[in-house]
């Protein structure tokens, strides 16, 4: 793979960790696409009959939620692949997607709260959609905390995969919650349930958010590979130090 190559020296051998050159331009393009899609939504979509201009919050809230769901789908697939193959890269991709998904879920909840105050009259309510989304966030924050506090990489990957699969299984519950229970939250927003006046703007914002999420996951994955190589180097050093200490102790 062509790109910036970082060399990590490991027990006399070195490992090259490449980061694609297209990552930074991709990030700039993704942020540019997001700004363009939002501008398009502001200019082209008329005020809603009931909500007025508050409908414009949909172009940030709904794509954030959709993209978080996609991230958790990636977590599910990569976690299953890790448990199946034990290849570390699947664990690292799942972790990268989980971190991105958690950030986007937190953003979804914040935006929903900002939207809920003027339309429902409350910042928060224990509605099935809001509560299940909050549970989803708590599960994936737990996933990230678990990773941060587990030193053994194999155990960390296995436990993370198990939590990742269970957490991702919550996504269909979140999605269907507005149909299964009586909720204050409206039915799922999609191009099929929207007036055509809003469809194009929502689609464009969804695509831009997906592009941004792809950039986040890819960047996080490359950082994770580098951090993992550093971790292995630190472990190798610790082993050498322990050996020397054992040797010294045997002389005493």
């Amino acid at each position: 793979m062509k790109g910036d190559v970082m060399e990590v020296k490991l027990e006399g051998e070195s490992r090259a960790i490449a980061r694609p050159r297209w990552l930074m331009p991709l990030g700039l393009i993704a942020f540019g696409a997001l700004a363009s899609a939002q501008t398009f939504g502001f200019i082209m979509s008329p005020p809603d009959r009931d909500m007025g201009n508050l409908e414009k919050i949909m172009y940030v809230h709904v794509p954030a939620a959709w993209t978080a769901f996609v991230c958790f789908f990636v977590v599910f697939v990569e976690s299953v692949r890790y448990l199946w193959t034990s290849q570390e890269r699947h664990d690292l991709i799942a972790a990268a997607a989980a971190e991105t998904g958690a950030a986007l879920t937190a953003l979804t909840l914040m935006l929903g709260s900002i939207w809920g105050r003027p339309t429902w009259g409350v910042w928060w309510t224990w509605d099935a959609r809001l509560t299940s989304t909050a549970v989803l966030l708590v599960v994936f924050v737990g996933y990230l905390v678990l990773r941060a506090f587990t030193d053994d990489p194999v155990r960390r990957a296995k436990w993370s995969a198990a939590i990742g699969i269970l957490g991702a299984l919550n996504v269909p519950i979140v999605y269907m919650s507005v149909q299964w229970w009586r909720t204050l939250h409206q039915l799922q927003s999609s191009p099929h349930t929207l007036s055509p006046a809003y469809t194009m703007s929502l689609r464009l914002n969804g695509i831009a958010a997906l592009l941004l999420a792809f950039y986040f996951i890819t960047t996080r994955y490359h950082v994770a590979r580098l951090e993992r190589a550093n971790e292995e180097l630190a472990d190798a050093d610790a082993l050498v130090v322990t050996d020397v200490e054992t040797l010294e102790a045997s002389y005493v």
Binding site: M6, G27, F31, M51, A103, A106, L212, T219, V223, L226
Partner: protein
């Protein structure tokens, strides 16, 4: 009350969170690269 403070808050929060996340990833990348060069431990 006008709807615009909520709209501005929503877009402001979105950009703040997304740009902060991008900077967090860049900072973490820089730290990992420094550690790989042996300049500091992660």
């Amino acid at each position: 009350m006008s709807e615009w403070p909520y709209i501005i808050a929503a877009y402001g929060v979105s950009w703040f969170v997304l740009v902060s996340f991008a900077f967090y990833l860049m900072a973490r990348d820089r730290r990992a690269r420094r550690a790989a060069r042996g300049e500091s431990w992660p």
